[in-house]
Symmetry: C2
């Protein structure tokens, strides 16, 4: 058997990986790291845990997206693992939530590799703890979106998190205000350069692609 | 300073706690465990980690709910911790997501205790990995509810998770079918007695209060 684990390393704090993810990284034969122009945030988060491991970077350039890169990544993983070997593919946050791993997973499932996914702490769960504000109280509901907000949903929910806000910030904030939400923008939650932005003007000026907006009905 | 951490221990697998949560449990002075008639699932999950710790059970009987019990729990925690001591309050899944900790937190904030919350893996994140199905692909959205589903939201989302389905299963399933979702019920994901139910009839017969439904647009 040859096995590959998709592991969520959490939002940034190196201790917000699960024990399961940590133990698999420590015991595996190969660590596969997604990187963009030589940078890997997932790799940075677990850097203390992989110093003595065989690490293979897989290039996923930002902005570009086509099936071919997932096919090529899958070939690289498949060719690297010999019989009896175990690899881990690391991904920021949770592997099943807005992750490139989901597209790689579609390719991995076509191979003879055994695939298992280990969940990770999402950015929105981390933000909720960081702000000390509920994601959901009893009988409430939660809406997770990226980039755009649907007003019919907004009318009907208690808490909202929007990822990838950079594309569409003014529209997102205006809709949240219109429908009676308090909102806050959190940049790189639990990472070294974390920041919390409360003012509309500073949120609009922020250009970080890893910022999210947490909003809660007043 | 006296400090209390609210820690999510994850959905059931003892390795699905974060390294941060684990390290705080190992280093703290007191472990506070919510229990119902002497049973604590959070306590069971971390049982290997707390054998040598001072453990204080706090009774939260199922079904009953009033502010007084949170006030009393807060008093117990506040009275137990001396200057310089650290306590952890353990909670299943994530502390900010449908957790009794959220109500305790409101009381803790009124004291002089320093409070910090450590996120945990939610049941719905664990289910998504377990089923190897996305919570959200790029440009998709996600709707989290407990007990009831809003059809206007259902029309507009890609993935839905419903917790506490026991109150209202037939209505939930009928709405999911009506709006074009595939669905599956997962009982006690990553716990010893985990089960995955695919048939409507077996889901309706199931009486576990810790089952959730994961649904995805066809």
């Amino acid at each position: 058997m040859r096995k590959i684990y998709g592991i969520g390393v959490g939002p940034g704090d190196k201790e917000l990986i699960t024990l399961k993810g940590y133990n698999l990284i420590r015991s595996c034969d190969y660590v596969f790291l997604p990187s963009s122009r030589g940078n890997s945030l997932a790799g940075k988060i677990v850097s203390d845990y992989i110093v003595d491991k065989k690490v293979i970077e897989i290039e996923f350039p930002m902005g570009e997206d086509n099936e071919e890169r997932y096919i090529n990544a899958c070939i690289k993983i498949n060719e690297s693992l010999s019989e009896g070997e175990v690899g881990v593919f690391l991904t920021l946050g949770d592997p099943m939530t807005y992750s490139t791993y989901l597209y790689l997973l579609l390719q991995l499932k076509k191979t003879e590799l055994v695939v298992e996914t280990i969940p990770g702490i999402t950015s929105f769960n981390a933000v909720s703890s960081r702000l000390s504000l509920p994601l959901t109280l009893r009988d409430e509901n939660f809406y997770l979106a990226d980039g755009t907000l649907d007003e019919e949903i907004l009318k009907r929910v208690d808490t909202v998190c929007v990822l990838k806000i950079i594309r569409n910030k003014l529209d997102i904030i205006d809709k949240l205000i219109k429908h009676g939400f308090d909102y806050v923008c959190v940049k790189r939650c639990t990472q070294e350069n974390e920041a919390i932005l409360y003012e509309k003007s500073e949120i609009l000026e922020d250009e970080d692609y890893m910022s999210l907006i947490y909003a809660r009905r007043k």
